[in-house]
């Protein structure tokens, strides 16, 4: 039995942001996450800190909210952000009136915008198509969502927050109009625990409907899957948006040494279907190539998919038109007085969503301390700094000792970074496996997709006693299966060759595909 003031369900951007916000108000929290940090949509997006430009036509309120929050985050969490600026471009065949109206709509939302001559746009970004008919510069930026959430939960932990990774909610116990306790199961060990909390916040993203249902509340949710592709190298220095009604493959966002192209929008019925498909990858490539021709022949290192949690309004058929604003439900209508759900919204507005939720929860508990995330910068904690492409090498080159061997050569991840992350996982009383180390570093994210570094990190973890018996073999299998989901849609040319090598090593040579019971026939 664990006791806490607030139980937060979900370890994405909102859940971890809320944990930090409440922790800074002196509130003790437990964050329960069924996977790991940013397992859902928080980790499966462009990493785009919106200027707001994308929403000016359809949702001016969201556009203005994005603008305000993006500018604030640039001050509060600069270590997670690259202020790249962004271009909105229209190409031949796109709606010219739509493009011409853009600056006016931006100004109406207070979003700074500057018209750029198409020729000048191509000088700024040589990869752009020669068929540009209009271009505008906005203050888009990029944000590393993993670093952001890891740093939020890191500071929250220092203020007494407990993180329970791999814990799934099994049920709620209620008395009168109160949730008295919540049942959880540790998905790794199978251990069952009970958490008693004064307040419970559902920040489960796409899983918010399922959680609410367990609590006896009803949320009508729709799931919109988005698929994105990661390029082998960085294509542009700025964010590139297609200036048209939002559609597939119309945003290209740089992130360190790579670029991310997306996204699709497709209704799915079940949350078991969150993986990118070959068809979606082809669609994104074809559409992206209209803005940037080299995207057609570029090497992609992987794809990934996330689910936009859309609180369904019922009548609108297009998910592109669904509001990207957030929804905060107090569940009084469901007869619950200490339960709240925060859902929808954008990564860009995660802090604002956390603040509003923390206000509601604090108010319910009679706590009057103000929100500090608006004024106190997010500390840049070292164990959370190994996620951004390109950062690890800079850090390593700066203070590297010869003994500190590189375990990942594509992304230059040194042994010390892996040890640092492992120590931090231990501090947060979590289990340590290859996948959780990979999530917190660039291990497995470079062009080899873990063919060499996965094995090296496992060997290192055996040498340091983190892995025992066949745990590491099972870890390697899990690691490659996880990588595979993203690889499968982009397997042609260079990445297919890479994958053939991975299979030759890990199946052909090491026999990882051979079932354990068959493996023991070999003696």
């Amino acid at each position: 039995m664990l006791k806490t003031q607030v139980l937060i369900i979900g370890g994405g951007a909102t859940g971890t942001g809320l944990a930090r916000d409440l922790a800074l108000r002196g509130v003790r929290c437990i964050v329960a996450e069924q996977g790991d940090i940013n397992s859902g949509a928080s980790g499966a997006n462009h990493g785009l800190l919106h200027s707001g430009g994308r929403y000016v036509f359809k949702d001016p309120d969201v556009a203005a909210e994005c603008r305000a929050e993006a500018e604030l985050l640039k001050q509060m969490a600069p270590q997670c952000i690259e202020a790249t600026d962004g271009l909105f471009i229209a190409v031949e065949g796109d709606d010219e009136k739509y493009a011409a109206d853009f600056p006016g709509y931006c100004s109406a939302c207070g979003i700074p915008v500057k018209a750029v001559d198409p020729r000048e746009a191509r000088e700024l970004e040589p990869a752009l198509s020669s068929k540009i008919i209009a271009a505008y510069m906005v203050r888009d930026a990029t944000i590393d969502p993993f670093m952001l959430s890891l740093q939020n939960i890191f500071q929250a932990s220092q203020h007494g927050t407990t993180l329970l990774r791999h814990h799934k909610i099994t049920g709620f116990h209620k008395s009168n109009r109160h949730i008295t306790s919540v049942g959880l199961v540790n998905l790794v060990s199978g251990e069952k625990i009970i958490v008693e909390a004064d307040q419970v916040v559902n920040a489960a993203g796409a899983w918010a409907g399922e959680i609410a249902a367990l609590a006896g509340a009803h949320i009508k949710m729709a799931y919109s899957k988005g698929t994105l592709l990661v390029t082998h190298s960085r294509v542009t220095s700025r964010v590139i948006n297609r200036l048209r009604k939002p559609d597939d493959g119309d945003i290209l966002v740089p992130g360190g040494t790579v670029s991310i192209l997306g996204t699709t929008s497709e209704r799915i019925d079940s949350l078991d279907q969150i993986f990118p498909t070959v068809r979606e990858a082809d669609r994104v490539v074809t559409e992206g190539a209209a803005m940037i021709p080299e995207l057609e022949t570029m090497r992609y290192i992987r794809a990934f998919a996330g689910v936009r949690p859309l609180i369904s309004s019922g009548e609108n058929n297009s998910d592109r038109n669904a509001s990207r604003g957030h929804i905060l439900l107090d569940h009084l209508i469901d007869g619950l007085e200490n339960f709240a759900t925060i859902s929808g919204g954008k990564l860009t507005t995660y802090r604002y969503m956390a603040e509003k939720t923390a206000d509601l929860v604090s108010n319910r508990m009679g706590i009057t301390r103000p929100c500090l995330t608006r004024t106190d910068p997010l500390p840049a904690a070292v164990p959370c700094s190994w996620t951004e492409p390109g950062i690890a090498p800079r850090r390593w080159m700066k203070k590297h000792t010869p003994e500190d061997l590189l375990l990942c050569e594509c992304e230059m991840v040194p042994t010390s970074a892996v040890d640092n992350v492992i120590a931090s996982l231990r501090d947060q009383n979590g289990n340590v496996d290859l996948t959780s180390v990979a999530l917190r570093t660039r291990v497995g994210k470079g062009s080899c997709q873990g063919a060499f570094c996965g094995f090296r990190v496992a060997a290192h973890m055996y040498n340091t006693g983190q892995l025992k018996a066949d745990n590491g073999i099972n870890d390697l299998k899990k690691f490659f299966r996880e990588r595979w989901k993203g690889l499968r849609p982009v397997l042609w040319d260079g990445q297919l060759i890479q994958t053939e090598l991975t299979e030759a090593l890990h199946c052909g040579f090491l026999g990882l595909e051979i079932k354990q019971e068959n493996q023991s026939d070999i003696h």
Binding site: G472, R481, H523
Partner: protein, 434 residues
């Protein structure tokens, strides 16, 4: 184009590709005194494990482990008449392996088999794998794994892709008497990262061997054998093992390592230096970039050299260019093509069918059975089943209807098809096989 007369290199047979299939074909051609040219770039041969697998798993569906590869091959060809193994008699496959092993022995490299059965070899992950003919340096490891007596696994500070502790930890339940120790390789006291190839070269020097033996001997305890990552030299392995065993006092064995591995390197180095001495012209760092047919039905090949492209005329070609990694096959977003002759490639209809949803799906991925179809003489066929060119043969992993990675039949496939193709060439050219 350089001014060298193409006739300088004119050959009866050109083997394109220097992986397992290409070098096996070259060995068979040398033995049959065929005027041969071998061209390729090292490519995937750097990834050779140095072990010769015949068949380890069949059928894939049940993942059945095959201790007896011959029984497995028998079942395989009965149920999969299109598998390349179905084009060669087991007797010929056996003869091909014997011929290759005899050649290697003569060139100074010893291999061994366990009767007609597969041997179980420890991998650097701590898993075990089956192989048919293994480097003699691994033989004592097969015995040790089988008997599970007291055994010490040694590894070295600074190795990134090898952990003796991992191997021991994974195998502990099956083999409690397995122990481990980590030492510094003599002379590498101030080196942070060490590579097996460097250690293998260092160990060629007698003083270094002595120092290594002195380091290990006091750590033996009750160990009846000692296993190390594969580093027992590149050129004088036979002698190095004998000397080390004498100095340490117990049988030693090598455990294969992740590529580029010393046993693979040893194999390639041995053949690379031996073939030219036996009269074959070889080009090991040169990719053939294009091919033309001349009016008399011969081939005019263009290949890259450091001084520019070069042309060579040849009467017949054995294509041993491998799959995607070897660049024998090429895939764009829609199709798989054969890279040099644009030969027909049998393949699934769409890219969505190339790979399974699970990386470790026991059935294997369909793309891995795509490739070039051949007749009984290993000549590529067009979709209507006719021979594309009478003097073109295809061998090794480029062939369709096989999954060498999952069935563990890569070397067997390479050797069998090379043997069959060289003999078929001889027959067509009116010469007898011997």
């Amino acid at each position: 184009m350089t001014s060298i007369d193409p006739d300088d290199l004119a050959s009866d047979l050109t083997i394109i590709g220097t992986g397992m299939a290409g070098i096996a074909a070259a060995v068979f051609a040398v033995n049959r005194k065929i005027k041969t040219l071998l061209i390729g770039n090292t490519g995937t041969s750097g990834f050779a494990s140095g072990m010769f697998d015949l068949l380890g798993v069949y059928p894939l569906k049940t993942g059945q482990i095959r201790i007896d590869p011959w029984a497995g091959i028998d079942a395989l060809v009965r149920e999969n008449p299109k598998h390349p193994y179905a084009r060669i008699k087991p007797r010929s496959l056996s003869a091909a392996i014997d011929e290759l092993l005899a050649y290697l022995k003569h060139a100074g490299l010893d291999y061994c088999t366990t009767g007609k059965l597969n041997s179980a070899v420890i991998t650097p992950a701590g898993t075990t794998r089956l192989s048919y003919a293994i480097p003699a340096s691994m033989k004592n490891g097969v015995k040790a794994l089988h008997e599970k007596k007291a055994c010490l696994l040694v590894d070295f500070h600074g190795m990134k892709e090898y952990s003796a502790l991992q191997i021991v930890s994974v195998l502990q339940k099956r083999w409690p008497a397995l122990k481990t120790t980590r030492v510094t390789f003599p002379g590498y006291e101030n080196t942070s990262e060490v590579f097996t190839e460097n250690m293998a070269r260092a160990i060629e020097v007698p003083e270094n061997r002595k120092a290594l033996a002195m380091t290990i001997k006091p750590l033996l305890d009750n160990a009846e054998s000692v296993g190390m990552p594969a580093i027992f030299g590149i050129y004088n392995t036979r002698h190095i093992i004998r000397e080390l065993e004498k100095a340490i006092g117990v049988p030693l064995f090598e455990i294969p390592t992740m590529p580029p591995s010393v046993p693979g390197l040893r194999l390639m180095e041995t053949i690379k230096s031996d073939l030219p001495a036996r009269g074959i012209k070889t080009f090991f760092q040169n990719r053939v970039t294009s091919v033309k047919q001349t009016t008399d039905g011969s081939f005019l090949l263009t290949f890259r050299t450091p001084t520019g492209p070069r042309e060579v005329k040849t009467k017949a070609v054995i294509l041993a260019t491998g799959r995607f990694l070897g660049k024998g096959l090429y895939a764009d977003r829609h199709n798989i093509r054969e890279a040099l002759f644009d030969l027909p490639v049998v393949q699934p209809d769409t890219r969505d069918q190339w790979h399974q949803k699970d990386f470790l799906d026991p059935h294997g991925h369909r793309i891995n059975t795509a490739g070039v179809e051949i007749d009984a003489d290993f000549r590529p066929l067009n979709p209507s089943g006719q021979v594309v060119l009478p003097n073109l043969f295809a061998v090794g992993t480029i062939l369709a209807h096989q999954d060498w990675m999952r069935m563990k039949c890569g070397s067997g496939l390479a050797i069998a098809s090379a043997y069959a193709a060289v003999n078929a060439y001889l027959k067509k050219s009116g010469k007898s096989p011997f």
